[in-house]
């Protein structure tokens, strides 16, 4: 029995969306998700919406009712979630719990964000907005940024395990290749190791192409109860969704390479779904930076600690490899509109498990995993999905 099932999925392209308002952008994902499920607004019991930064970046709050009104859902209960980059995975978790508890039967879940200069903010201004997820008192004054957070983690990983800049670049090369097969990706161009090495440094060891871009975009899923799912075409089941948090500030974490919250969240999800890492056919992980993908593939148990870098370089995580990682292109190439990323990962899992992923289709997958982290990996949600037999 599933904890809840996805019966509709939609998302915008990720990239620059011009002068669109957040609630308008969300509609461009939400209406396709409702159409995909074949449900009308009258069938939807609630809206669970993720948005991370608009309170700071656009002076736009209370987005739930604004988004609901835009798509004809006025009157339904709605709530907005903020948990840094794990925002819409968190919305999904709460929607799953509400469905499982019998409170709602059909929930529209999604996220929306504007991070490109279209939001009105320059790169230094948006860098400051992103840094708000770091400790206000003990990290922001020192000047830590999010490329900096993951650079600190990655350089320690390189020191402890011998991970190399070539391993990092190979993650970017792979994800750009995957992105070139995804019409919704912000970066559809293929790159080489040299493209990465010749790019400007952002926070060493990360060059520009080790980093995900600033993106605008929205994503949405229609989530229903296990029982109700049978009346839909091609439901895809959420059989596990684990969630854990880690300590802030980063310096005091027992290990900065373990991302313990991800290990805890993955353990919960595997237990709930009665699966192990060996059952995972493909995954979407939170590759905000190339090093973050390596840490994530180790944390969810695909590879032993220290083997994540070599695995990427050996092609084991490429489409056609033993466990394709980020067939969508990931945050790196598909893009990362923060609050939309968690449900966008689930849109990809849905497309793949339905066999509808086109040129980037994984070969007959039955189990997909999504790993969505927030802040200094201090929030992580891991979701396991399976095609319904």
């Amino acid at each position: 029995m599933s904890r809840a099932s996805i019966v509709g999925a939609g998302m915008t392209t990720f990239g620059s969306h011009g002068a669109v308002a957040l609630h308008e952008l969300f509609a461009q994902a939400a209406l396709p998700a409702l159409d995909d499920a074949g449900v009308s607004q009258a069938d939807v019991d609630a809206l669970y919406l993720g948005n991370t930064s608009a309170a700071v970046s656009e002076n736009d709050t209370h987005l739930g009712p604004k988004a609901a009104a835009q798509i004809g859902l006025t009157g339904v209960p709605t709530q907005r979630f903020e948990d840094a980059c794990a925002t819409s995975a968190m919305a999904t978790k709460h929607a799953v719990h509400a469905i499982e508890a019998g409170i709602h039967d059909v929930v529209l879940v999604g996220g929306v964000e504007r991070c490109t200069p279209q939001s009105g903010l320059s790169t230094p201004e948006m860098t400051k907005v992103f840094a708000s997820a770091a400790s206000r008192q003990y990290e922001q004054p020192v000047g830590l940024t999010f490329p900096g957070v993951f650079a600190l983690m990655t350089k320690r990983h390189m020191h402890e395990y011998g991970t190399t800049k070539e391993h990092l670049a190979d993650v970017a090369v792979k994800n750009h290749y995957h992105g070139s097969l995804n019409p919704r990706a912000q970066h559809g161009e293929e790159i080489t190791r040299e493209t990465v090495f010749e790019g400007p440094l952002i926070a060493d060891p990360f060059h520009l192409y080790d980093c995900c871009p600033f993106s605008d975009g929205a994503s949405a899923i229609v989530l229903v109860s296990d029982e109700y799912a049978d009346s839909f075409d091609q439901p895809v089941d959420i059989n596990g969704i684990g969630h854990a948090s880690g300590g802030v500030p980063l310096a005091e974490q027992a290990s900065v390479t373990m991302t313990q919250a991800a290990r805890d969240a993955a353990g919960q999800a595997y237990d709930q779904a009665d699966l192990t890492a060996e059952d995972v056919d493909f995954c979407e992980v939170h590759d905000c930076f190339t090093g973050a993908e390596i840490l994530a593939t180790e944390a969810v148990g695909l590879f032993e600690d220290g083997d994540g870098g070599p695995a990427a370089s050996e092609g084991r995580t490429r489409l056609g490899g033993e466990v394709p990682v980020n067939p969508s292109g990931g945050l790196k190439a598909k893009g990362h509109p923060i609050g939309a990323t968690g449900t966008a990962q689930l849109v990809e899992l849905t497309d793949q498990l339905r066999g509808e992923a086109g040129d980037r289709q994984v070969d007959s997958p039955s189990v997909g995993l999504a790993h969505n982290l927030g802040g200094e990996a201090a929030t992580t949600v891991v979701t396991l999905m399976e095609a319904r037999a």
Partner: protein, 129 residues
């Protein structure tokens, strides 16, 4: 009474304000749990290891070794254009600081001052020759 402190707290309980005041005069304050001896470099309301409420404010060492580091080249508005930051291992805990100079992992560093950002200080470390 609303003015009463929570169980286990005293007027000496370390807060960010007291920690910041110390950084500005060249001292790093932390906390040691009186039950389990766990040490942290930034003030908490309870021991993060055992949840004990009896925490002693302690002076942390001002020298340590670099646990990890990076040079930040794209910086937030209001910060300098380029600087190195490091997680410094002080033995029983670690703290984040900005680096004056150039360091690598395992280099020895010592507290050498502080930076100010939006009314809050951050410690600065320099390499030990």
């Amino acid at each position: 009474m609303s003015s009463e402190l929570p169980d286990g707290w005293t007027d000496d309980t370390l807060t960010h304000a007291k920690w910041a005041e110390a950084v500005r005069v060249g001292t790093l304050l932390g906390q040691r749990c009186r039950s389990c001896d766990h040490v942290v470099a930034t003030p908490k309301s309870v021991c993060v290891d055992c949840t004990g409420r009896e925490l002693s404010t302690i002076e942390l060492p001002t020298t340590g070794t670099v646990y990890s580091e990076t040079t930040i080249e794209v910086t937030p508005v209001g910060q300098d254009d380029r600087y190195q930051v490091a997680i410094v291992d002080l033995g029983e805990t670690r703290v984040l600081g900005q680096i004056s100079g150039d360091v690598e992992i395992d280099d020895e560093v010592s507290l050498s001052g502080h930076v100010e950002y939006e009314g809050m200080p951050g410690p600065t470390f320099s390499p030990v020759e």
